[in-house]
Symmetry: D2
Subunit: 316 residues, 4 copies
């Protein structure tokens, strides 16, 4: 068992939440300068079992979750134009799919008291990304309309966070995902293959358009977001399922006074605020399925087959 | 001579500043529902010579300039997702290339006291667009670096407004435009055909990148802006010289926490603030050339030949 | 029955909500330059029964509520340092305690579809003030803690609006008001006479303090708000029950990076957003009691005796 | 000579700028839990002469200045409602009036290249406080009017920073301080004993009032700031020369939509931005007088006699 050094903590992992990114790191390395043997995984909940000297933010027995971009504490993100910040847990830094990890205490925050370990493990990547986009950047508020064109991990958190702030949520998806989204609070669930999606959104909003889009699709889909967003609205560019080359028309962007926010998770202070919001509102992250560590291959397979909610690997 | 009705003012035009848009409206109508005979032109400075009843914002003798999007007084812009606001002076509404015009008094603001009529006429479109982008949306401040990849009308105002706030300005252009830009305050003037533009900008900013880009080029150029912008930086999408289909890579946008602002001029309160800023800082708009009304064809031709500053039509 | 002129609407009043200010205007005139006979009252809900020419924002049959500061549409409030804006409905302008009123159409917004007339009538003053403070100025979000040291009209809206955004609410009051506040969602209800109020708030927030205070008490109470507010927190200065001379210690204000917002209702765009929020979240304004027009003296008396919620005068 | 440990740097001090606070700490301790022997002083410029392991933000030979509140890197300030952050250099932490100091590398930023050591030493407290107030909180911009009712250290930086952003500055002071303020750029210098100060400010601003007040006087002076500030204006509460018990009238605060910002210096990212602004704009801090270390008593005396600019203690 590793020993925590100065400013470090030894944590016993209870649950790890998988992200599609973990699968990509495992399969391709994503071009990152990894040190082998490499441990994947970014999202966990665990309990502190020992601490090194000069570590006073936590006590033995505290339940914690990690911060995915550990150097981004608050305010401006580290990095520069030549080298954007890329040092993440389970990417540049070794990951957390392990029974024990040692981490600097500045890399952690307390887990919500109202969530199980499996639930808490889902917050650091998917939860924080949706929170940072909608709350800290786009400023969602009661009565706003939020368009979420997906039912992936960030999308479902976006749905729940928007509802917790009193917003109206429109989800685009397909098949039984629509019913599942409705069951957790979506106000309007539209089949993404409808020919009249645009008119449907205009009808729901009385032509006003949507105040916020969680743009998790990317590629040419940004054009659609620009078309549907309200005057003065916000588009949070979060994902690139359809490709990393974004395209959109200039005129509606300019005439509608639209703001596009590039989102790459968020800072630690925001994660602490998300934890408080979860405890206050009773928000329960959606879990698709749970696996033991020995079932990791099956868990990774499940990532490809359109889960509704997060996939959890549980430890003893 | 027209007679002002209730809430209206009769204005004698002294100078009109041309915009490339005027040429397009004259040549193609731009698809707008114009009533003929149509008077083009949006930017003027003039003097109030008579007022109708219920018009108390101005007095006879006041020098005024118009507000290009007259219904956008402050705060949120009018319009909705289906029909963005398109009602502009010299577009939907009849324009101002005339000796006298009658306008509602809510469509006007007082001209700066420190500018000539020709200079004041340049503010409503080019001046306000640069001001609204850099000051009201992007929040430029002393010590910031601003990239301006052009020497067009909005670009030159951007340069002067950025300098008035203590920022460092990098201009991209070509030929003798570079010297002219330097003469009015640009800190760094780079030939747009240099193969090492990216490295040059990284070198100037110590790899930090630029805090703001005035993106007046559009099309695929947005990709370059995303590449050069600093972490936490702002890109103001203003123009589309290279095309109305924007494209850009998703990853640096997301990893660098970048904000893109769609800009389509600005509101009347911002124009009033620009007027105060001009009077306070002594900013003098750049004028390329002056013509009489009879020389309008020559003036419009000049628009195509790369003027450095605004082209003015002066009235008797 | 009055006839609407150009740009005006004739409205049949259904319900008027009283404010303590109405009583003061009736009794003292509050130093305002009133024209007699003067009609008091600011808050109503009614139905449009006729419209003059050039009035196209509404149709006959639309249910509407008024905007209390009619010249403040959006953005910056009118007025200057010498003469702050004071032109309000039922103050400078004639009021609405009448069966029919004629108003300019720019002074109105559509009533929420989910509220009765009596409920809708409560929004323009008390509802908008709480909304503008917490949402548009202080930016309340899920997980924040809001301190509301009263159970007056603005206070109860503050409570409901904070809850609609997922915040935790602490109310200070006395007697059975505490139970009533709990019944509509307050998380913590503290007797204002407790000697240990400060410690109680520190305990609830884990010493963090409260993110927002709705300061409706005024006078020396601001000192207490400064003491209890969190680092980086917001105090909305709204009311002056304890006096118009505010006092507070400088050191905690400075060391805790606190922001104080002076709040005097809000603009029309914000009222439109409040209406959407009410319809989306199902927020129901609290009504204390209802009276007929003939019972106006009793209704005004009731204002003095600590109502819990708004007092309504209903019209046939 | 002390030896730098892990993450620490050894710095040779070149110049220390005195603050009135230093005098108070020396004379009274200010109630801080000081460890004796205690070294006072917070502001310096110096050169790195050695570094410990794990310290890579700086190299030997770099000129640096310290950050006064070392734990406040960016975003939200540390501390809570019960215990606001009070750990400052030369207060809770030992100070810098010494030939050599050892400090953690996270407590430092690079000095501006365009300033001498004496000039650079003035930035961390007085410079950062004025910058954080006007630029990061109040958002000063060209054409704004800033009222600065003093010629103290923070006040003069406020004057220079406002001018660097194109603002108009009104200074209140007395005697030859008025001429000195004019010489460094103040647009209007008013004797603080004039009976018509209010009317003078209204006249300068055309009744609009001032957009920003650097409230360094405190006590009952806040009432005057509230009276003179424009609708939508900002008051930065910074100092308390006239007392720590602030008082102000509620009505104009509320009717004018005023924001009061409690200011207690600023974070390290802001100090880095100030350094860039100084290098870009050529701002030169005002130095009143220079002393050797042996003359410290005379230097402290000078603090009491109304210096114009900062007092510097120079080392070898």
């Amino acid at each position: 068992m590793p020993v925590p050094g100065r400013g470090e903590l030894l944590i016993r992992i209870a649950a790890v939440a998988l992200n599609y990114r973990d699968k990509m790191v495992i399969e391709t390395g994503r071009g990152l300068p990894l040190a082998f043997p490499f441990t994947p995984g970014s999202d966990f909940a665990g309990t502190i079992v020992a601490h090194g000297s000069d570590s006073d933010r936590f006590s033995v027995g505290d339940r914690v979750i990690p911060h995915f971009t550990p150097e981004w504490i608050d305010g401006r993100r580290p990095g520069d134009a030549r080298t954007p910040a890329y040092r993440t847990l389970g990417g540049f830094y070794p990951g957390v799919l392990a029974e024990y990890v040692v981490l600097p205490d500045s890399w952690l925050v307390k887990a919500p008291t109202t969530l199980s370990d499996a639930e808490a493990a889902t917050l650091p990547v998917a939860g924080l990304t949706a929170w940072f986009a909608l709350v800290e950047r786009a400023g969602v508020r009661a009565g706003d309309t939020v368009l979420i064109p997906s039912t992936g991990g960030v999308a479902l958190f976006g749905l729940q966070i928007a509802k917790a702030h009193g917003a109206q949520v429109i989800v685009w998806s397909e098949g039984d995902m629509l019913d599942k989204a409705r069951a957790i609070g979506a106000d309007h669930c539209l089949d993404r293959d409808r020919a009249d999606l645009r008119e449907a959104v205009y009808a729901i909003t009385g032509d006003r358009g949507v105040d916020h889009v969680l743009e998790v699709v990317g590629g040419g889909h940004l054009a659609r977001s620009v078309e549907l967003v309200a005057v003065g609205g916000h588009i949070c560019q979060i994902g690139a399922l359809d490709g990393f080359d974004l395209s959109a028309p200039a005129m509606p962007l300019m005439l509608k006074d639209v703001t596009i926010h590039g989102i790459g998770t968020g800072h630690r202070t925001a994660l602490e605020r998300l934890v408080r919001a979860v405890d206050q509102t009773g928000l329960k992250p959606v879990i698709d399925s749970r696996y033991g560590l020995a079932e990791l291959p099956a868990a990774l397979d499940r990532l490809d087959r359109g889960p509704f909610g997060k996939i959890i690997v549980e430890f003893g």
